[in-house]
Symmetry: C2
Subunit: 467 residues, 2 copies
Amino acid sequence: MKDNRITENLILQLQEVVGSDYVITGKERTEAYLYDEVEKTYRPEAATDCVVVKPASTEEVSGILKAADQAAAPVVVRGGATGLAGGCTPVVDSIIISTERLNHIVEIDQENMVAVLEAGVTLMDLLEELEKYEGLSFPVHPGDEGAQMGGMAVTNAGGARAVRHGVMRKHILGLTAVLPNGEILELGGKLIKNNAGYNLTQLLLGSEGTLAVVTRVILKIFPKEKASATIVAPFEKIEDACHAVTDILRSGYTPLAVEYMDKRLFVDTAKMLGLKWQAEQGNADLLIILSERTEQQLYDAVRAINEICEKNGAYPCLYAGKQKEEEELLLVRSQHYELIKDEICDSFDMAVPVSYVSQFILGLKELVAEYGTGTNIIAHIADGNVHNDILFLPDGTIPPYADELKHKMYDLCYSFDGTVTGEHGIGKIRVEELAQQKDPAELALMKGIKDVFDPKGIMNPGALFDL
Amino acid sequence: MKDNRITENLILQLQEVVGSDYVITGKERTEAYLYDEVEKTYRPEAATDCVVVKPASTEEVSGILKAADQAAAPVVVRGGATGLAGGCTPVVDSIIISTERLNHIVEIDQENMVAVLEAGVTLMDLLEELEKYEGLSFPVHPGDEGAQMGGMAVTNAGGARAVRHGVMRKHILGLTAVLPNGEILELGGKLIKNNAGYNLTQLLLGSEGTLAVVTRVILKIFPKEKASATIVAPFEKIEDACHAVTDILRSGYTPLAVEYMDKRLFVDTAKMLGLKWQAEQGNADLLIILSERTEQQLYDAVRAINEICEKNGAYPCLYAGKQKEEEELLLVRSQHYELIKDEICDSFDMAVPVSYVSQFILGLKELVAEYGTGTNIIAHIADGNVHNDILFLPDGTIPPYADELKHKMYDLCYSFDGTVTGEHGIGKIRVEELAQQKDPAELALMKGIKDVFDPKGIMNPGALFDL
């Protein structure tokens, strides 16, 4: 697909669909729509002869896709662009559908406990809206509240709070989606149980814009839990911390989140923020976030988890029950990136079974030591989801061993029955790894499904599959 | 596919794969392998020139499918045969793969809280095995513990306990599946988060044997909750009972199950069992099953739910906290079928959004009254999943209006944004309804996916799609 299919004629058609105010052309005006948040070193290079369109309805999206289909022009959807896999970066000249105007909260349905949301509604919009209702919430939180519902759906977003509540896939009951040929699908509904045929909703979740454009989601919402607290459990050894994690999961006192970072990240991030990391002992701290219906239940959970940590050799746990204390801890957890961002050359999103996570982390540390370098570990540890990185050389250049080291990290991950991506997705930066991880038979099925939905191959070219 | 492809040569090949002891031929010996539990009146008629094979491993299933593929011979998988949609009934002469020898509990992994199970492990086998470990359980319960894991997976089984825990789809992390050409797929794993490519596990869940043969499942297991109780909440009007249900769901005190039956079914089933239904007042009783970690939490939940029921006009609720009392209540709930089975001509599995469920039930009652007949209502009411029926005429014959009434029931269901099947599936008895319920575009995608997995159309012919 080397010739540019974004012709003058196509642009005119797009203007007819959405109005000329909402069609943006010209490299200077479209360049703000090309990248997401992948590290610059390894992000895919964007094609720059693109046109940005901003539809305001499912019908307009359908009109855009009909025009694209006729011209066999590539289509990339851009939501909040908070992704970390280059998913919304056009690698061939494309129509970029920006969902910012699909931003209506259609309905908060308290009887069915669902929210009906257009794809461009951000997580922040949703959480603010739910604040207006007494005690409603939505648990999945990928970290950046600028993430949009459509993007969170098609990437099956995860985040820290998946320990209790799981990822997006568990909470989406239905979708409105537009096929590459412009046909509109209404999938699922406000139904808790629905076994009529293949579940195409589930297939679209995690399909990363390669099959259809999602314009609306039907999302399960939840009663807000009223009591929360955060525990810091410091351990001498990560093995003990991880044993405590599996014991906690076994106990049934399931936390909202269990986060792990290298001790120095907790300590130095706190310092950077003008705070002090209170856990002075130990080398492996767990940040355990609890959320329960009542204070009594919270107390029970704190006591049970404290006991489990002690039994696994923890130093005395720190308990933050006041809002300010909790906020400080979570701030340290969320701001570590500011501390290390300049040293990160490449970053990862592997996941392994929880039982292997300490061996995996220790293995990663050993591996980088062989190259005389380090790696920062930040893990959603109770999900087995480990973020780590390859560092620049001290002079800020890409190390010559970067590629080799990456492959050794992935081999280590596979040796623990892991996956190259727990939550960020394949996008355009892990296409080769997907092909390594999967059997040819599974890849062939995926490609077959892709062809069923998108016979002309116009949807997000370069994502999941090679161009 | 009118010629019988189950040739002597094929049978010889199957004997080579599994050994001649495990290949069963002859109408008399195979007739026990043809039907599931659909009412006889409307069950699909089985083809009778079938061969039954009993593989003991994934590799043997692969060998069977290679032979089937070569001969383009239809394949139907038979698990526990507890289905209610004719899914495992061969409607053309077929190879019937009976999974009874794939009955190994491969692993109970307490660190990762997963069970690895062969497809033929029954729910009873699993529950008994989990009893051996302190405090482990698996929540999904479709009613019949003879159901097998493979069948529960490919039908995405539900049941009463979906209110708190959801259906099978939420609990399966991975599958081993054999494609129609014999290729073996290992999908997913012991991973809580895994975003590498299209989620084919989720696609196979609910695919009813039309895409591949599942031979092994990786299932999430859970810590057992120690405190349980059952409440009977009697209301005068079903509208009030349903309001109480949505208020309970909104409160966060989520029960394990909320069951509804016509009052006469509670009263008369109890009588049939030599018991007395204690709730004398009211016409609309909810059976609310609670399960919590501690007695204190159970107490909190009971109190909260009691208050909600009272606020919605309930008569005083009855509380069963002792095991014997609880067992009696659940016995009445589970044995109603014995009371009414002889009067059922056809039965249904529709589901609507929870907010519409009282209107839907009242609408069904009005509809049957127009025909001078009745209908029994048994509902997983907090899931919006309503089982009802069309009754035989008093002389035991099929009423002349049966088909018309059925279509009116489905139209009523659609008018409430419902689905023809909440949990039982399409199988071979709702193929026409599936085509009515779905847009042609969605059906075409389903058919496209079917062709990708099963280009020769040998997998469970007549299920989901017309022959």
